[in-house]
Symmetry: C2
Subunit: 446 residues, 2 copies
């Protein structure tokens, strides 16, 4: 790769030798995203030192590239006036993104600082939820009336001198600002200049409503290979434009959310945040886990007498719980993914349940035979082997059923399956695993 | 949203009533990505019926949109000649992607069927690894000599009539096909036509080497908001062009891989694959899990005598194992993410280890107190409470250390941390959890 990235170790070295001039030189030619990466790799105390060496003109864009946790921390350390100065010259959608993540008074300060037309635009974008098409849109669409020729369009563009980034099409509107269609730039430059613009438009373009969810927007961009797309209000009037660079951020954030949520973490988790803060953030999840673990222990506690009689049960019961949890997690993962990309819906969830249960039965039988042989040989007790085997089949089927039903149920309750699904599932497979091993043993063996 | 998606339930209904004409009508105006979604939501037997109703002209693009598992299954059912016919008219990068996922003889058939210039292009793309910039590139770059005026460029584009999709810039080369620079389309149309093209180029554009890894390409596209970028060979000669639509696919596949791998699943896992096939695919992972679970059981088995003396140990030990696993998974998740986005490197991994260990100590102490009180009250045994508390601290610190070191070690060994990290970590926290509870109890209590 050429012209990509920064040398982080250089920056750390320059910091250690307090060579701020050299840092300024490195940053002068750097891309804001690379500077943001550098900041994220540093401890909080070093971040402020480095921040002060960033050219003023880049500071806003660097802030826009930072992850939420790092942004909030750093913004708390920066002089308020300088913060507003850095932000106010950004694109409206970037300002909107930033003020969502910053304390409310920052928004008020920014609204006072910007020009009145930017303020109006910002009001418009901020009137939509953060995770909607409206919250994602910018107001920099290149718009022309639909009754002019391509030559006039070209002359108009020449006057503007520069087009907004990611402009792959011009939007045509009627006299009431209703979107007539979309004119791709390549048609504009390859078609006869005397033609009317309207004869070269795509007349059924993908358009978004301001309230569409950003995940649906992302799916449409990915499916239809879009670079930009118009946003319209309920009266089909053009209100903004969404571009692929912001959609890519949505896709990356969504992916990060799914991975982090499974461990009870926020996207904003900052690897270099202070120890106390991280401890506090993580402790909540561990508390939830303790409660679910106590539930499993309570089940074991019901069978103390059985364990005392046959200690092998205590040795083998975690295997059944763990296998159920693993098989169930496989089902859960596939189902959550299917629900999020849309291949699983109310129409076919019954098929999925039947299939996953059958897979649970087959894998249950397979590993039941294996564990039965191991248990029987280990403890010289064939009956114990049979008990463990039966418990294994029960728990793998339970894991499959829970793996399908838990995410479906959570989704209907409005709870994020990526966050709560794993905990709920392993609670079920632990409880059922312990209960089936110890219960069956108590009935059959003791 | 407008002009987005298909009604899946309509298709299912039409299938049930065998109304193939109506399905053909729905597909006639549909986007290939939507048809692919529909196919993925159906059971394998229905897929072939629906496939036959897809207009021939769309079939190749539908195949290109299918996930690997569904593609392979469906391709096995399609007449070979028809398969090659569908594929051969696609873009070269799409053909290359498809033949990577299909049996080797398909490639040979395709190479025979395509024109000789497409064959040469295909050879070029296929000479690079599937997950490299070269494997991702297309050969449709719009290229002009660097010594002509904008007017000549515009006339050339008019002659071509259509530009390749996602063309936001024209590439300028010298007489040896070395890349001189990149001319953004907006500069082309807003600058004076008599200017030399070379005066309006971006002279330090981001370029990729054919062997760059696709994840680095994806990061650069996201960081620098690229729509397309040139690929050059080691002599800086232009060999191709990467576009954002393919990069979006890389980002989505990578995210899916990370989520699926954590449950031991392939990206290609098809939710509606036959039960036997799914059982077989998943059983491998369950086998790995069984071995790690047996390791935990072996540790418990070492202390059978202690458990018989104090059954409460069997009741409480899973809590310690589970809490260590959860805390460790939090660390592991943050570290894997930090490594993949580049905020964690050899330079600062020591800082991360110290910080995570401290978090482990603090959360260990917090939950040690809680579990000590619960255990002491439950079993009326203060000493038992103290033992469990100490084991909790030990295991949470162990979880933190393992959460940092395991992914670093796996990465150095060339093993995917997203796949093996979770299993390795919970094996450590299970073994250490059981050992510390039972070992400390054996020394202090019995």
């Amino acid at each position: 790769m050429q012209n990509v990235g920064l040398q982080l170790n250089n920056i750390v070295e320059l910091l250690d030798t307090n060579n701020v001039q050299a840092i300024q030189d490195v940053f002068a030619d750097a891309h804001p995203a690379d500077i943001a990466d550098t900041l994220e790799s540093l401890t909080p105390t070093k971040r402020l030192t480095v921040w002060l060496q960033i050219p003023q003109i880049l500071k806003g864009e660097v802030l826009a590239e930072l992850s939420e946790g790092v942004l909030r921390d750093l913004a708390g350390d920066i002089d308020k006036e300088q913060l507003v100065d850095s932000i106010k010259s950004l694109d409206v959608d970037d300002i909107a993104d930033l003020v969502h993540d910053l304390p409310h008074e920052t928004l008020e300060d920014v609204l006072v600082a910007v020009d009145s037309n930017v303020r109006d635009s910002l009001d418009e974008v901020l009137s939509f939820p953060d995770d909607s098409a409206g919250g994602l849109m910018n107001l920099d669409a290149t718009v022309v009336r639909d009754n002019i020729t391509l030559e006039v369009v070209l002359r108009f563009l020449r006057l503007k001198n520069r087009l907004p980034s990611q402009t792959d099409s011009i939007y045509l509107v009627d006299s009431d600002h209703h979107l007539t269609g979309v004119l791709p730039i390549d048609r504009l430059i390859t078609s006869p200049a005397e033609d009317l613009a309207i004869t070269h438009i795509i007349d059924n373009p993908v358009t978004f409503d301001g309230l569409d969810h950003e995940e649906d927007v992302a799916k449409a961009f990915a499916d239809y290979d879009l670079v930009s797309a118009p946003v319209v209000n309920e009266n089909k009037r053009l209100i903004g434009r969404i571009t692929i660079d912001d959609v890519v951020d949505v896709i990356r954030e969504q992916a990060e959310h799914d991975i982090m949520a499974a461990a009870g973490l926020n996207n904003e988790a900052d690897i270099f945040a202070p120890v106390i803060k991280t401890t506090r953030n993580r402790s909540v999840w561990l508390g939830v886990n303790l409660i679910t673990a106590l539930l499993g222990s309570w089940v074991i506690g019901l069978f103390e007498g059985s364990i005392q009689e046959l200690v092998a049960l205590a040795v083998l019961m975690p295997i059944v719980a763990s296998m159920g949890g693993n098989a169930g997690t496989q089902t859960l993962t596939v189902v959550i993914r299917g629900m999020s990309i849309g291949t699983i819906s109310d129409q076919n969830v019954r098929n999925v349940l039947i299939k996953e249960s059958l897979v649970g039965v087959l894998n249950g039988l397979l590993w039941a035979v294996v564990i039965a042989v191991i248990a029987a040989l280990w403890f010289q007790n064939v009956h114990l082997g049979i008990v463990i085997a039966c418990a294994m089949v029960v728990n793998l089927i339970m894991g499959a059923i829970a793996g399908v039903l838990i995410p479906v149920f959570l989704e209907k309750m409005g709870v994020d399956p990526a966050l709560a699904g794993g905990v709920a599932l392993t609670t079920v497979t632990d409880v059922v695993g312990y209960f089936s091993v110890l219960g069956l043993a108590t009935i059959w063996l003791l």
